[in-house]
């Protein structure tokens, strides 16, 4: 029975952590709607998250689309001949509903979530956040709100771009390697994709963008110690954001497509 207190401590620590995270998120959200606002900082974060993440998200999307087309074709060939039409359908649905938002979310979590935690964590351990307070500047408004808003707004745009590039990757493999008719591939894609497929992906992207920024800011804001503390905060930000992305991916899928 000696293990029970240990389990209790872990559960209590988890609940305390969850409570702190919820309070942090609610405080940050309340500051989103109260002035002063920092449009210059929001713009800078939007460029950092959106524009500078384009290459990595684009590359991930194009290769995912290409692999998906190839795997679908070889997989379907085992069951029935003449299943080429299904390749375009599988590619567009998989990319828009799942692979676009999830892969973009995970890539941005690694690139942006880690860098947010490192930057804010370094500011914490070098007293720069305390300096903000002494200069009558609320750290939530100055550091957290611009990142949350930028994450929330830019991830859907990134995912929209990833959807287009991913479908294009599938098109390239289907047309240039597998010899499909380009017109019928495009027609199949247009005919099969629905507004719900795209909207569900964009909703996921907005939620993932919020999660990435929230975990990056939260981990950095509460980092302690020196370089080791900042390193731990960076790892926590990426790992927790990735897990939450996969968890919320299921939840949102259930909301949109659950029976």
């Amino acid at each position: 029975m000696n293990f029970l207190p240990s389990i209790g401590r872990v559960v209590l620590a988890f609940l305390a952590h969850l409570g702190r995270l919820t309070l942090f998120a609610l405080t940050a959200l309340s500051h989103c709607v109260r002035p002063p606002f920092y449009p210059r900082l929001i713009g800078r974060q939007m460029i950092d998250i959106g524009y500078y993440s384009l290459p990595v998200v684009g590359l991930t999307a194009v290769f995912s689309g290409m692999v998906l087309a190839l795997q679908s074709y070889t997989g379907f060939a085992r069951f029935a001949a003449g299943s080429e039409n299904a390749v375009a359908n599988v590619v567009v649905v998989s990319i828009t509903r799942e692979l676009g938002p999830v892969l973009a979310g995970l890539m941005v979590a690694g690139r942006i979530g880690g860098s947010m935690a490192a930057e804010i964590g370094t500011m914490r351990v070098t007293e720069q956040i305390d300096a903000l307070t002494t200069l009558s500047t609320n750290p939530y408004k100055y550091l957290v709100v611009p990142r949350l808003l930028a994450g929330l707004l830019m991830l859907p745009i990134l995912v929209l771009v990833a959807d287009i590039i991913g479908v294009f990757g599938g098109y390239m493999v289907s047309v240039f390697k597998l010899g499909f008719n380009p017109t019928s591939y495009i027609n199949n894609t247009y005919d099969f994709v629905t507004t719900t497929d795209i909207v569900s992906g964009l909703v996921k992207a907005a939620v993932f963008g919020f999660i990435i920024a929230l975990m990056g800011c939260y981990s950095g804001y509460h980092s302690k110690g020196g370089a080791q503390g900042v390193g731990a905060a960076t790892t926590n930000a990426v790992v927790s954001a990735s897990i939450l992305i996969l968890t919320f991916n299921y939840v949102i899928t259930e909301l949109f497509f659950g029976t």
Partner: protein, 261 residues
């Protein structure tokens, strides 16, 4: 809000206590600082000097006690009220705490742009003038903090603290990590800035040379309490074995350092 009378201390601390878990850091601080006065709190590393300053600034919330600024109780304030009170303050942090993503001029002008809504162009001009007051050329304003030496970073930190023309300035270990000459330069700058602008100052340090130079009064913090408060000129002759040991920097005496053997 009450209007402060002439005799109201600018900063008034009454029985301020703060603990972190089982560790009692401040165990009842009482201190008054009058307008235009420079008070230095001395004490060993880890004695709670920084916590004392951070309690006044609202960065750390005291467990009990009263903190008044200009007669107004500022112990527990909402964030907007705290922002308003902090407009009276300037702070020089031990490590500078300069924003490394901003150039030097924007660091100095930060409190003017964000805290006082000054136009960036005007704030920049003001920042360059303030840099001049601490002996730095206008070109330094274009550099980033990482490109500066430790002494220059302290001077920029000092410029940032006084740029907002505060009523009260806090100096956290202003000479730590500097060579003796640069430390004396910083001490001179603090004295000239504080006296010229008539600012009230609260400094914390364990550098006795600095304490005697920049302080009108010195207070010694030991085990969470101010065990001696007196004129800076009297600190060498203080009739207190703790102060005597600290001022002379002796290993033997009533203050026992926690050493593992």
């Amino acid at each position: 809000m009450s209007v402060p009378s002439e005799n109201t201390p600018v900063v008034h601390l009454q029985d301020v206590r703060k603990s972190f878990g089982p560790k009692d850091v401040l165990t009842g601080i009482d201190l008054d600082i009058q307008k235009g006065e420079s008070v230095v709190v001395i004490g060993s590393s880890g004695s709670g000097k920084s916590v004392l300053i951070k309690s006044i600034l609202g960065i750390v919330q005291p467990d009990t006690g009263v903190i008044e600024v200009d007669g107004e109780n500022v112990t527990y304030l909402s964030p907007p009220e705290r922002d308003a009170v902090n407009r009276k303050f300037g702070m020089l942090f031990q490590g500078g705490a300069l924003f490394d993503s901003l150039p030097v001029w924007e660091n100095v002008a930060f409190g003017l742009i964000q805290g006082r809504d000054m136009h960036r162009r005007d704030a920049r001009e003001h920042a360059v003038k303030t840099l001049g007051k601490v002996g730095l050329a206008p070109e330094v304003g274009e550099l980033f903090p990482a490109e500066l030496s430790g002494g220059m970073q302290k001077r920029v930190g000092l410029a940032r603290a006084i740029a907002v023309e505060p009523e009260i300035v806090f100096f956290d270990e202003p000479t730590t990590g500097l060579d003796p000459i640069m430390a004396d330069v910083i001490n001179d700058l603090i004295v000239s800035c504080v006296k010229q602008q008539g600012i009230t100052a609260l400094s914390i340090t364990h550098d006795m040379r600095s304490a005697k130079k920049i302080g009108d009064r010195i207070a010694m913090l030991y085990e969470g309490k101010l065990i001696w408060v007196g004129d800076a000129k009297e600190v060498d002759q203080a009739d207190n074995p703790y102060v005597d040991q600290f001022v002379r920097g002796r290993a033997v005496g009533p203050i026992k350092m926690q050493l593992r053997r």
